[in-house]
Amino acid sequence: MGKIVAYTGNQAIAEGMRQINPDVCAAYPITPQTELMQQFASFVADGLVDTELVTVESEHSAMSACVGAAAAGGRVMTATSAQGMALMWEIMYCASGLRLPIVMTIVNRALNAPLNIHGDHSDAMGARDSGWIQIFSENAQEAYDNLMQAVRIGEEASVRLPVAVCYDGFIISHSIERMEILEDEEVKGFVGPYQNLYHPMLDIAHPVTYGPVDLQDYYTEHKRQQVEAMKNALPVILGVAEEYKKLTGRGFGYFETYRLDDAEIGMFIMGSAAGTAKEVVDELRATGIKAGLLKLRIFRPFPYQEVTAALKNLKVLAIMDRAESFGAMGGPTFNEIRSALLSLKKPPLTFNYVYGLGGREPSLAEIHKAFARGREVLTAGKAEVLHDYLQVRE
């Protein structure tokens, strides 16, 4: 049985990490992740975990040490945000290319310049092609639940990929929330012992060369295998969610739909703003407007077939991006969702709003504006402007 607690998102993840009890954690502080690692460091100091905490001199070394530790053979976790993730970026590709199931929390934050410490998805979106599974969370409860499942998903033999658990900086990381956590023994049972798949480096009787030079004759096949691992992750994600539901009663899929079945105007969104958007959907429904919502949980691998099926009956879809893709046709998720919907005979009309950059909080009124625009598009039968800003002084 779980217990009810009042935690910030960062506390929830630190507590979850204590329960998972990784063998090695290498991390570097950065706002808004700092509190998480501080809390975890106090667990280490109190001897509550077996973890070897490597307090490195940079995020580049954090991810590098995680790669060394995971290749050595054991469960490895870390956490970061924004600039820290950007500094890790090079080695994130090494972690996925070496097929090391490291679990990293990304407390999503805007990227410099100009400097901004608040929440948006620029960091994770910048690493969307790095070969990491990316799971987004609406609140601290989901972040905690996703962390537990991330360990299992990444370590599954058919997957063996690193996993990022994402939640919005400050809005989730620093807000106290009523939530339910598992008992330590339940977590231990759920994540299970770490299983080595190949001969890890500490298996000195079976020396393996990790990270070789891989030229024109093999590189493509190794990248292709990573693609396969991502595909394999899709059923694994559902299987792990099913087991987790048995334990907690809380169910998870690739995404959550909210009043979407008979909706005409839909919204696609990720992260903390989904809560606000659900409220707006309720308000619109109360006035007879058929509004609905899809909140994506699994951004990588992108479950495009399931997302398309869920959105197919909509007439209009507002796609909300909390990150910019400068010079592109729209934000990162807009391009993917719009492209996925093109497989439909009659795809919904789509348009894109970039919102919430640098922590600018989307209010109910702002989300209402996005739905109002959806109604205009519905009436006009076309979206004149594809890519627009929800909250900006022009």
Binding site: E57, H60, V67, G74, M201, L202, P207, Y210, P212, V213
Partner: protein, 321 residues
Amino acid sequence: MNAGAAPATKPITIKQLSQRPEILVGGHRLCPGCGAPIALRQILLASDYPVVLANATGCVEVSTSIFPFTSWRAPWIHNAFENAAATISGAEAMYRSLKRQGKIPPEQEIRFIAFGGDGGTYDIGLQSLSGALERGHRFLYVCYNNEGYMNTGIQRSSASPLGADTTTTPVGAAIPGKREFRKDLTSIVAAHDIPYVAQSATIPSRWGELINKVRKALEVPGPSFINVLASCNRGWRHNMDETLELTQLAVDTCYWPLYEVINGEYRLTYKPKEKKPVAEWLKRQGRFRHLFRPENEGILKRVQEKVDQDWERLLKKCGEL
């Protein structure tokens, strides 16, 4: 650790070494006459313990691990260019964690060694190295220093000597090669106050020079570092059968003194019978050919003065003066 106490090492004979299995095996694609594999083979034979290795991007890495082949008979990882120290520190942390948890038997001793060239150590990997040294991981970092970015085609590094002709400090009509002295990395590492630091080379006159230092390094209960001069005949521009001769000359001219720093105490490990002029080493290498033109006499003089000054300082630190 007692300050100044030399780590206890068991003596080893050439016969014993010759009977040990090679860890870096033949068939790799390093150039004939390359100094790096000579040093690496000696280092790996020297260990009484099983080793886990990390390698920074560089000549050794690209020439020994071309998939689906490998030259390594020990667990080995290449992660990236600037992070061999951080990578090995993670592996060592996992070893400590699993050992503490009883998942590795207590009698199972493993040593951790990272290899990097001067590019991966003096320059891009310096932060990663400094961090890992300060954190006190028990590992040996070996810089095989060939004084330039040889893997990418002989560009200058902060280990390249004054006046060196490299592809990014080419000798031109206006500029006569590299304009700066090299960085003294061994002293920078020694300033981290780690238990064992050494400068070494594979010199024919002392077969045990590098091997004994490695054996000491692997006994200290913390970080250790050895800076090994390793000629690159492509970059230094000498005949490929002259590698060891030139290494000996670098040492005998006191351009590359051999010493160790044990818990902060400096000790000279080799004193040439007769200190030769540095020009004897320089003139054998194509990269310094231009220094022997009359207009570059001043550079030659500066090089000799710097060698003399550094040598004298070192002798003082070692209590030899």
